[in-house]
Symmetry: C2
Subunit: 404 residues, 2 copies
């Protein structure tokens, strides 16, 4: 059976209308997890093994599901015989993830078996316009699909990760985000001219959380918090495997918890936001004054690792402030796992040690209050710069936050 037909059937099965039918549920499960055995599919979907078997036969016949990939827990229990690894047909089409950051745009093409086929990015000047963004995406697309094996006709969906909150109701960028001149912009309208397929979008921290859940530090976790420490402070709350977007897309905007109403004015318009004390903007200014040139976060981390006491102190103070913020998050969602994302995560234990101590001090639940399974673990994220763009691919694979 030809690729075209498998693609159109797949698009139909991935749609929300089909998410209760057995083939829809199986395709959704494979899209989300990449590779599964038949018995894992039965577990994940809750379908009877006989239903899974019959439906898989039909899906394999029509070329939507194929053998391939490798299973993490691939052996049938007790049987000794390795289970067959199944994926969606990687040739049935591609997914595109686009990361729209403050200073760069990244574009990843992946197939439905979760293999990255292309990963390109371009650096842009601060405050670039939507028109420049569109031209850059177009150029990255041409580069990415230069391979004659790849066809732009078979794009199943496009995910967009934006540096700023996205209103899930209308796909517009909210005021108060990282791209201040883009407030009010309709993301679907922006990228629609380039694509004839479903478009998904969310803010970069929500996408980063999806990437960590699908392939990174939060694999196997359906309930966790991503906390991003960088020049900005943000994050995401994942509950039952879904990112909480909030009614206007502002959920997980931890940097804009207004803690001190008498504090400094924040770029969001409120006063005393967490970002003012927990972002690394002010520490970078201090370090730059001390060393006489403009340091980046990586420079401060490298100097701290090299033994510079002042740089180490700046990281520790950020950890203390972040721990206070996470204490507030304990009393709101009380996550079992907190994944630290953003450039600061690369500081490793130098950050995580004092951060965990500060969390223990400020959180409602102390580690001595509860048994180990009920304690909050704090770990570094797996992905650094690419987390948002990988998560944008994840938006498509998980059918999260479709626009229109």
């Amino acid at each position: 059976m030809g690729r075209k037909m498998a693609t159109s059937e797949l698009v139909a099965l991935l749609s929300d209308r089909e998410d209760q039918t057995p083939p829809g549920r199986i395709v959704r499960a494979l899209s989300e997890r990449g590779t599964l055995s038949a018995s894992q599919i039965a577990n994940v979907t809750g379908l009877a093994k006989s239903t899974v078997s019959t439906t898989l036969n039909a899906l394999r016949k029509s070329g939507i599901v194929v053998e391939g990939g490798s299973l993490e827990n691939g052996r049938s229990i007790g049987a000794g015989r390795p289970a067959t690894a199944l994926t969606l047909n990687p040739r049935a089409g591609t997914c595109i993830g686009i990361g729209i950051g403050l200073f760069h745009i990244q574009l990843i093409v992946a197939d439905l078996a979760h293999t990255i086929l292309s990963d390109q990015s371009r650096t842009l000047a601060a405050d670039y316009t939507p028109e420049e963004a569109l031209a850059t995406i177009e150029a990255l697309l041409v580069e990415s699909y230069a391979d004659p094996q790849l066809s732009r006709d078979a794009v199943l969906g496009v995910g967009v990760a934006i540096a700023g909150p996205v209103n899930p109701q209308d796909g517009r960028i909210l005021r108060g985000g990282g791209l201040p001149t883009w407030a009010g912009l309709d993301i679907r309208q922006l990228v629609e001219p380039l694509f004839d397929c479903p478009i998904f979008a969310d803010n970069e921290s929500n996408c980063a959380a999806i990437a960590e859940m699908m392939w990174g530090s939060a694999q196997g976790h359906e309930d966790f918090v991503l906390f991003k420490l960088d020049l900005g402070v943000g994050g995401a709350i994942v509950s039952h495997g879904r990112v909480i977007t909030g009614v206007a897309g502002a959920a997980g905007e931890f940097g804009h918890m207004s803690i001190d109403p008498e504090g400094d004015l924040c770029r969001c318009g409120n006063r005393g936001c967490l970002e003012l004390t927990a972002s690394f903007v002010r520490p970078l200014e201090m370090a730059s004054r001390r060393f006489g040139y403009a340091l980046q976060i990586a420079d401060v981390i490298a100097r701290a690792q090299g033994g510079d006491v002042g740089c180490r102190r700046l990281i520790e103070d950020t950890a203390e402030a972040a721990g206070r913020g996470l204490g507030i998050i304990c009393a709101t969602v009380n996550p079992g796992l907190i994944v630290i994302g953003g450039s600061m995560a690369r500081a490793g234990d130098m950050l995580l040690g004092p951060l965990a101590a500060s969390y223990e001090k400020h959180a409602l639940v102390k580690s001595t209050d509860v048994p180990g399974v009920a304690r909050t673990r704090i770990v570094a994220g797996t992905f650094a710069r690419s987390d948002a763009c990988l998560g944008a691919v994840g938006l498509v694979l998980r059918h999260h936050n479709r626009l229109g």
Copy 2:
């Protein structure tokens, strides 16, 4: 068919093992919603109409589902003929909700069609012991089941609402809650001697949220926040129709967001918690000093409504502090609906007006940033004193937080 048999089949169908089968899904939907038509059942469960029809025939034959109750939107569209209202057989068994508050214990018996059959409560002295609680529950049970029509043999489940966070992993009461001498107590062990049926438990604010969602101000909403303003400050976050409990049961403990690490010591052991400024304990002390006797919250509200400027000011100041806390909640879960629970909700617009203004001031998303549908609405809860105990019945009907 006898009641006994319907009961045991029902218990099996309500169990988590059956929640993917068509009869399990239909029974679960009726348990959660009370009364539905066949086509509403198809919508809610996502099952095909033919599957619903066949399964309903079998469930009606075995006496598990019966006609009865009234439908909110009961007419078939266009047909003119009223749709048949279906409920679980109210005679198949009863559910018990127990509210364990700071100074009283309440016990509600309801049938599976969501009809309250009995509602009893007793006042207790502060810091009563678990043994006194058990004796009180036993006495309330005897009173409630005095009616010969009701049988204690057919209790399908018991829900317990506790004044304090409950660890969902082991059913133990956390330190830092409202019943300080009860910390570490295992709720299942406490009530198990009285019942031979599944036991569910959660803290009183989480239960209140379930009550508001099933029958009150949050009906029709699957994503909202309950914010409780009383002598304590608490709350709950509902996402996709499920209360977020948190890994240790501390989710929604908004009163213990530690906002000012240099602030006063809170009863939870941290400093500068929201509860210190947003609870009505200090305002009551001030009012009592002024009027020369110990006022209750209702007295202050009555005096404010009668024109007393000082009492009105105390309510407004509490609203201002609560609005700050809700601003932080905007940047974490950004709810579309906030239901104000607790005794302070009875102050009505005198509280809600300044509270909404304070929220607008401190929240990341301003009402001018987004269209109406993406704004947060703040409303008073429907239930006052009984919300926790009603929600405990809801725990059973929704199979939420089963212990063991």
